[in-house]
């Protein structure tokens, strides 16, 4: 099974059926699976903080929702995490493609990519780095279980070692 299918299956197992996202070429490997599967409603947001708002609304009405974004987009959505998800205790799994890792070609992606995990630490948000297919299902399912048990946002950071990265 591909890493992308493993993640899509883990979402289903946790009854996460609404996915709000801003497109990214690497996470496209997952979102294209989600888009084809009638179980999911894939919502294309114009900006990452909007995706978090949509996911928060879904959870408030009893539907589990996750967001997919790039690390640059995490930068766009910090206040939605700090001012909405955390104070209201809304569990939103955030799948973040870490740009700025080894193999990065774009200088503009480096600083936000490198800052993403330290910012998550400052916000007190648990995060896990997904950099291999080894024990991936176990890692993702465990993280999702923790997210809903703790009722707080949680991040799953995906690196080029997992998805192959973007080369041009």
């Amino acid at each position: 099974m591909t890493w992308a299918q493993t993640i899509a299956d883990a979402l289903k197992e946790h009854e996460i059926s609404l996915i709000a996202y801003v497109p990214d070429s690497s996470i496209h490997q997952v979102t294209k699976i989600i888009d084809k599967d009638k179980y999911f409603h894939l919502v294309s947001a114009t900006r990452e903080e909007e995706a978090l708002g949509i996911a928060a609304g879904a959870y408030a009405t009893g539907r589990n929702a996750a967001v997919f974004m790039q690390s640059s987009g995490f930068g766009n959505s910090i206040n939605a995490v700090a001012g909405l998800a955390i104070p209201s205790r809304i569990p939103i799994p955030m799948f973040i493609n870490l740009r700025g890792e080894h193999g990065e070609f774009n200088i503009a992606q480096v600083t936000m990519g490198r800052s993403t995990r330290p910012i998550l630490d400052v916000l007190g948000i648990p995060h896990y780095t997904l950099d291999s297919e080894e024990r991936l299902g176990e890692k993702v399912k465990g993280a999702l279980k923790l997210c809903y048990a703790s009722r707080e946002p949680l991040a799953l950071c995906m690196t080029p070692l997992l998805h192959g990265g973007k080369n041009v």
Partner: protein
């Protein structure tokens, strides 16, 4: 039109419909009008009120009402495009438009200089977009919106008024209370 009076009138037209309110006075006034378990007050994340309502509308069968503001929605006009794209029949967005950022010192907003939020909504495919200037008009459009498919986008022009006291709201509690009205199985604890 004054927002608090109009808010009370909106609530009097509702039964169990979920309502999301923009941060600050809009949430305070909703709380003072009626602290329903179906109210979702926001106290941060400015700009996301109607995005939250969109997420709700895509996840439940009931009419969902967003009480947004001009300053807030100007911060996140992209969500108007997403509402147009998703086009949920059960979403009713009401934008209180006082043409200013009132709470921060009455600085004029872009709607005071010609930005027409109704036209913004229309150009994003939300055909049922209207601008209303008094409570009677708002009342009649809302009654229609509660009974006909949307999405609806209602710009309600309002005037300045004195603020009420800050609602003693605990976000964690109101989210939990709101959510419990939608889920069959209460969340397990422990």
């Amino acid at each position: 039109m004054f927002r608090y009076s109009a808010t009370k009138r909106i609530i009097s037209n509702l039964e169990r419909e979920p309502v999301v309110s923009n941060l600050g006075p809009t949430s305070d006034e909703l709380w003072h009008a009626s602290d329903r378990d179906r109210n979702f007050y926001t106290y941060g994340s400015m700009g996301l009120c109607s995005s939250i309502a969109l997420g709700m509308a895509l996840s439940c069968d009931e009419k969902v009402i967003s009480l947004d503001g001009d300053g807030s929605i100007l911060m996140n006009l992209g969500t108007v495009a997403t509402i147009g794209r998703e086009s949920p029949a059960n979403l009713i967005v009401i934008v209180w438009d006082n043409e200013q950022w009132a709470q921060t010192g009455h600085q004029k907003s872009h709607t005071a200089f010609g930005t027409d939020l109704e036209m913004v909504a229309r150009s994003n495919g939300i055909e049922k977009s209207f601008t209303v200037a008094d409570e009677e008009e708002l009342d009649s459009i809302l009654l229609q919106a509660l009974n006909e498919d949307g999405p609806w986008f209602i710009v309600a022009k309002i005037e300045d008024e004195a603020y009420l006291s800050v609602a003693p709201v605990e976000p964690e509690y109101t989210l939990h209370r709101f959510r419990q009205t939608f889920v069959d199985n209460p969340e397990r604890v422990g």
